[in-house]
């Protein structure tokens, strides 16, 4: 059975955006800070709309922030 996983570089992007806070990013994207935290920890995969909004905040293409991997075959 294959296991799919979406990874992201949101934390890293915040760091390079002058340590933008989770709260600031959340406000710009229109979600709660807890949702940004869950996305960074890989516990929640955002909708395409939110993913595009996050990419827009950092002025990056979507695939620079989110990666989709088929990890394990078991």
């Amino acid at each position: 059975m294959s296991e799919y996983r979406i990874t992201n570089r949101v934390r890293e992007m915040r760091f390079f955006a002058h340590e933008m806070t989770q709260q600031e990013l959340a406000e710009r994207v229109g979600v709660t800070r807890q949702t940004i935290m869950a996305i960074e920890k890989g516990k929640y995969s955002p909708s395409l709309e939110v993913a595009f909004k996050i990419a827009q905040v950092f002025n990056q293409p979507l695939d620079a922030l989110f990666q989709y991997q088929c990890e394990i075959d078991r």
């Binding site: 229109g30 979600v31 709660t32 807890q34 929640y44 955002p46 909708s47």
Partner: protein, 156 residues
């Protein structure tokens, strides 16, 4: 530990449900033992009191929460909150439908074997069938709010 508006709301509903319906079932057990017209009337009064209390207490606490956190109230949750709510509703639905199936089974048994009627039940709770449905509903609500709280904490 910082909680979102929706998480605080789930905590309020969870605690209110435990408190109010806990009191209800304790009072109801005090009425059990004899299923007479008098206990039925007392059970109906208790039910009315509890329903009013439930609406008032939840409204007051949710109103206080909205006043304390106006931006959260205005936003009314984001997509993750809605995702959590949907999953929690699904768990609550399983509990409620299980309860309903049990009550339907019991009603069928009573229809086929009238000897097992409520008057001869060892519980002798006034309006037992209604209370079994009520208990299923309360349990499903607790499952729903509990699942919301857990999924918020575990970072669903």
């Amino acid at each position: 530990m910082e909680l979102t508006f929706k998480e605080k709301s789930a905590w309020i509903s969870f605690i209110c449900t435990i408190g109010i319906f806990g009191y209800y079932f304790v009072e109801l057990m005090a009425l059990s033992g004899s299923d007479t017209g008098q206990t039925r009337t007392a059970a109906l009064w208790l039910l009315g009191k509890i329903l009013i209390m439930s609406v008032v207490v939840e409204s007051v606490f949710h109103g206080m929460l909205a006043v304390a956190n106006p931006s959260g109230a205005q936003m009314n949750g984001d997509e993750r909150d809605r995702h959590i709510e949907q999953k929690a509703n699904q768990y609550g639905y399983y509990v409620l439908s299980t309860g309903v199936i049990i009550v339907i089974g019991r009603m069928v048994v009573l229809e086929v074997f009238p000897g097992f009627d409520e008057a001869r039940s060892s519980l002798a709770i006034p309006m037992l069938t209604m209370h079994m449905l009520m208990f299923s509903f309360v349990l499903s609500e607790l499952t729903r709010f509990g699942a919301q709280i857990l999924m918020h904490r575990w970072g669903e």
